[in-house]
């Protein structure tokens, strides 16, 4: 009630504290998307900047030219369609693998005594704080033809021909799961650690097997963490560039790589913008899903 009464009074300090981050985000996060959308309808040209203006004012005539070629290209060239499909497929299965690996880790850590729990959590987070590029680079040395993994397997006698893992989709999967695993573990852990164990005790008292209790109590309660973690892996993985570029090959051409090539190699800025717009449209649903859970968390609402 006190808060409600206070809210009525206009305080300049309060408005300023809201305005500064708000305006920063509007200008440097939201406005750029509008510009991407606009430029996706422009035409590429050899000039500075390398795209045409949509609105032209000449000889008392205002012309608005919307160029749909960039989108037509996306539909007509197989490469892009394949790129989008490959990206979604790779991101989806990577998310599933992260979940299968990350959930047990989060579960085990959440059941530990507080002291060990903190140390283990720290150990999970630490790799994600060290250079992403370096960690992907490390896998190049391990996976390549005469790399460590092949040398080890040959020496053990498991295989007699080096496995071709590098430059295949398998290498991309390994890279994505490796790089994004901590982002799956953290939200699931944060959810599991809040659970009330009396529910499990009650269900055990009533004769439920631990496995049944897990499936019917723990798993449904942790669904918020699972969704948050899955979106933290899936969304950035769809647009991933570094991993398919360094570990992937011709069979793992993802859309992030195509956008990069369109921009840096073909110098077709409007084309790259169109690729980005379609990627964003594909990600609207996952982004909304992520936002719903994250916003609940940030605003401290417990109605999970």
């Amino acid at each position: 009630m006190k808060a409600a009464a206070e809210r009525k009074i206009w305080r300049p300090g309060r408005s300023l504290v809201i305005a500064v981050p708000f305006i920063w985000l509007l200008l440097f996060f939201l406005a750029p998307f509008a510009i991407v959308f606009k430029i996706s309808f422009a035409e590429s040209q050899l000039a500075q900047p390398p795209f045409t203006n949509l609105v032209e004012w000449a000889e008392d005539m205002l012309t608005l030219s919307l160029n749909l070629f960039n989108y037509k290209d996306l539909v007509e060239y197989d490469l892009y369609l394949k790129g989008y499909l490959t990206s979604i497929k790779i991101a989806f299965f990577s998310t599933v693998f992260c979940l299968l690996l990350g959930y047990p880790i989060a579960y085990v850590i959440s059941r530990m005594p507080p002291h060990t729990r903190n140390v283990c959590l720290m150990l999970v987070i630490m790799p994600s704080w060290t250079s992403f590029l370096v960690r992907i680079y490390a896998w190049m040395g391990i996976l390549k033809g005469n790399g460590l993994l092949n040398n080890l397997l040959l020496w053990l006698g498991v295989i007699d021909q080096p496995l071709a893992i590098m430059h295949t989709p398998t290498a991309v999967y390994i890279g994505i799961v490796y790089a994004y695993l901590p982002f799956m573990v953290l939200p699931i852990y944060a959810n599991l650690v809040k659970h009330d164990h009396s529910l499990l005790e009650a269900s055990a008292d009533l004769g439920a097997k631990p496995w049944t209790s897990f499936l019917r109590i723990t798993l449904p309660l942790s669904i918020g963490g699972v969704i948050a973690g899955s979106m933290l892996v899936f969304i950035p993985a769809v647009g991933e560039f570094v991993i398919p570029e360094l570990l992937g090959g011709p069979n793992s051409i993802m859309i992030g790589k195509l956008l990069w090539a369109e921009f840096f190699n073909a110098r077709n800025w409007p084309g790259a913008a169109a690729v980005a717009v379609v990627m964003l449209l594909l990600l609207v649903l996952p982004l909304t899903l992520f936002h719903r859970y994250q916003a609940r968390d940030l605003e401290g609402r417990e109605d999970a």
Binding site: I18, P49, I105, S131, Y137, L148, L298
Partner: protein, 283 residues
């Protein structure tokens, strides 16, 4: 409730997980001391790649650029992120709060190629219409990094603000302190561990970013990840191993110090709390 096989299974899962996370990094560090140019064949201990790394002027220049950008970005991200966290936790509702919240959460997951491209197009358009920021370089990278790092800082500070006991702030307000004073003298010191953690996180994120920086950088502002990436594209090189080893150990020790500071503060806080309780009981 825990039978011994359950315990064994738990430790097995953890051991597997940690092996997966750490073996590649350890291998990388070990091979940075390898004599041979072939990264995968061990031929004796040597520091020569470290020597070559430090005499690589271009690489060292990129280190300087990256450290400066990371320092500036982390600092501005902490200021903006703390404000944003305060707005979300303490300010109740206001017009546009949903939009505000989504602009905080979306950068956490937004694919980097989209963020990079969109910021570049913004800078180019701004240049076209108002003549600012006048080409690409350190300033544009700083703005880009501040924007995405700020979201992470907000998340870190947000959770600390929510956990904190508000009765101290209320007491100070009741005693007549104004809000600004309460914020700087009471709130800020209490959430300071989160500010340190947020700063460190922002610093490492900025230091590590390749994709966004590639889009918004200009001539003369090549960052370290950009330099590393162009040499890694040519294949595995022991010099990059040496650099990676230094980066990993540097960042890991920085993280560890931050974590340790936070823990110490937390212990102290709990001890103080218990002392206060004991005193109350005695009275």
């Amino acid at each position: 409730m825990h039978s011994s096989w359950q315990k064994a299974l738990s430790w097995g899962i953890l051991a597997l997980g940690f092996a997966f996370l750490y073996v590649p990094i350890i291998v990388l560090i070990v091979y940075s001391f390898n004599e041979s140019r072939l990264v995968t064949v061990w031929s004796g201990f040597s520091l020569k790649w470290y020597g070559e790394l430090f005499s690589d002027r271009q690489m060292m220049k990129a280190v300087g650029v990256s450290l400066r950008i990371a320092f500036m970005s982390a600092t501005s991200a902490v200021v903006l992120g703390t404000m944003a966290a305060l707005v979300m936790v303490r300010f109740g509702g206001f017009k546009g709060k949903t939009l505000f919240t989504s602009m905080i959460t979306a950068p956490l997951v937004m694919p980097e190629v989209i963020t990079g491209l969109s910021l570049l197009l913004l800078f180019v358009s701004l240049d076209q219409f108002i003549g600012w920021p006048g080409g690409r370089g350190m300033t544009t990278i700083w703005i880009a990094h501040t924007t995405f790092c700020m979201a992470y800082v907000t998340v870190v500070v947000n959770s600390r603000l929510r956990e904190m006991d508000q009765s101290l702030e209320e007491a100070a307000l009741d005693l007549g302190a104004n809000r600004l004073k309460v914020f700087f003298l009471i709130t800020l010191p209490i959430v300071s561990p989160a500010l340190v953690a947020g700063w460190l996180l922002a610093f490492t994120l900025s230091l590590d970013d390749l994709v966004i920086a590639s889009f918004v950088s200009g001539p003369g502002s090549t960052t370290l990840p950009m330099e590393v990436f162009s040499s890694v594209r040519m294949g595995v090189s022991p010099k990059v191993n040496a650099l990676s080893a230094l980066l990993v150990t540097g960042i890991a020790s920085l993280t560890f110090v931050g974590w340790w500071l936070m823990r110490r503060q937390e212990h102290k806080r709990l001890a103080d709390l218990q002392a206060a309780k004991r005193q109350q009981e005695m009275v």
